[in-house]
């Protein structure tokens, strides 16, 4: 449910209707930015948002994304260590 996809706001197309152009992998669509519009609409340009049925529903928090990826990386390294440990243990036996 609720197919959503990250897109970058590239331009404000109609300030009074709160419409902006969003781009997903080179595909452009005009979207409504009411849900993510702060005080200055122009600040949206360049930002990433989660696009759903023609609406920018939420700005994507790049720091949080980074944190999630870091956690994955850490886990990967930990797993590697674990696996190496398991392998050397096996070798010892």
């Amino acid at each position: 449910m609720c197919l959503g996809i990250p897109g970058r706001i590239t331009a404000i197309t109609s300030p009074d209707r709160l419409m902006a152009m969003a781009e997903v992998s080179g595909v452009r669509r005009e979207v409504n930015v009411a849900c993510v519009a702060g005080n200055r609409l122009d600040d949206l340009v360049g930002q990433w948002a989660l696009i759903h049925v023609g609406f920018a529903m939420s700005l994507i928090d790049e720091d949080e994304a980074e944190k999630t990826l870091l956690a994955l990386k850490d886990l990967g390294e930990a797993q590697e260590t674990l696996e190496q440990m398991a392998a050397s243990q096996e070798a010892l036996q």
């Binding site: 449910m1 609720c2 959503g4 790049e62 999630t68």
Partner: protein
Amino acid sequence: MKFASEFRDPAAARALLSAIAARADQIGATRAHPIHIMEICGGHTHSIFRYGLDKLIHEGVEFIHGPGCPVCVLPMARVDECVEIAERPGVIFTTFGDAMRVPGHRKSLLQAKADGADIRMVYSPLDALELARRNPEREVVFFGLGFETTTPSTALSIQQAAREGLANFSVFCNHITVPEPIKALLDDPDMVLDGFIGPGHVSMVIGTHPYDFIARDYGKPLVVAGFEPTDLLQSVLMVLTQISLGRAAVENQYARVVPEHGNPVSLAAIEDVYERRPSFEWRGLGEIDASGLRIRAKYAAYDAEEKFGIGYAAASRNVPEIEGCACGAVMTGKLKPTQCPQFGTGCTPEMPLGALMVSSEGACAAYWQYAGARTAAE
């Protein structure tokens, strides 16, 4: 694709799968006695099958596919009403593509279109609004369907129509909410679920707190998850970790998109436009209290129920669902799709009997199409 491909990294997935396996072993989960984790959202179901996660994950972890596909849970009688509206002369009926194939008692929207109704697929309610602007002599009806994620877009479109005074636009509102059916599932004495993967895009709107009762009152962990494969695996790991630690909390794996308190603009629009119905019918689950939204009286001019005299009343809901359909049992995790007596015989994606076979997010269709769990026809 930024914010998507990074979360499809095979190496990270391998690490997550190992960690999951370790946790599952630690808990003592086995094929015979698995941990049951329900992914509530059809989008999650779709990702699981698209990436083959069901086959990659430790055999002691079993995904139970929840009621989170709005197309799947739509009762037949409601499809009949769609068809009824769509077939009125002068109406342009607009809908998302996935609702086209859902069977009604008489016909689906796809069939109604073939029979001459002017039904158009749109990507957004904004496109329906635009159709209304361009066809002032026609009645443009938008089929409002979906959970809290989609609800604000319809609300904002109604507000926009009101601002413009677009008299020929209305919404046939079938928006439903996530927490209520979860509560209904948890209240089922036969319930076997050990934890939940929460729908990330719903929480993007409503935040994470609406699920607090699940942890607090029912002692089940819930992790709000993103839709990429590592998002899902990471969330499963988080659920298992809670279980292994004997904790039950609502956690947010999808913090890059989901703010704790949701989106205030969306919430305000929802509050402005909708009120709760006393109850709403879910296919397979029956009537669930306060689980559906209707358009407030102040927007009655944009309410297709008012415009076309099709009020939702539980009393009129006694059109029977199809017999022999086990959708309810599948949706509550009591049966697997392949255990439904109709699966693959009376019910196939070409001729779906139950709704879980219609949408590619439906558990049965996913089993059929992606997992190859074919029976008779193969």
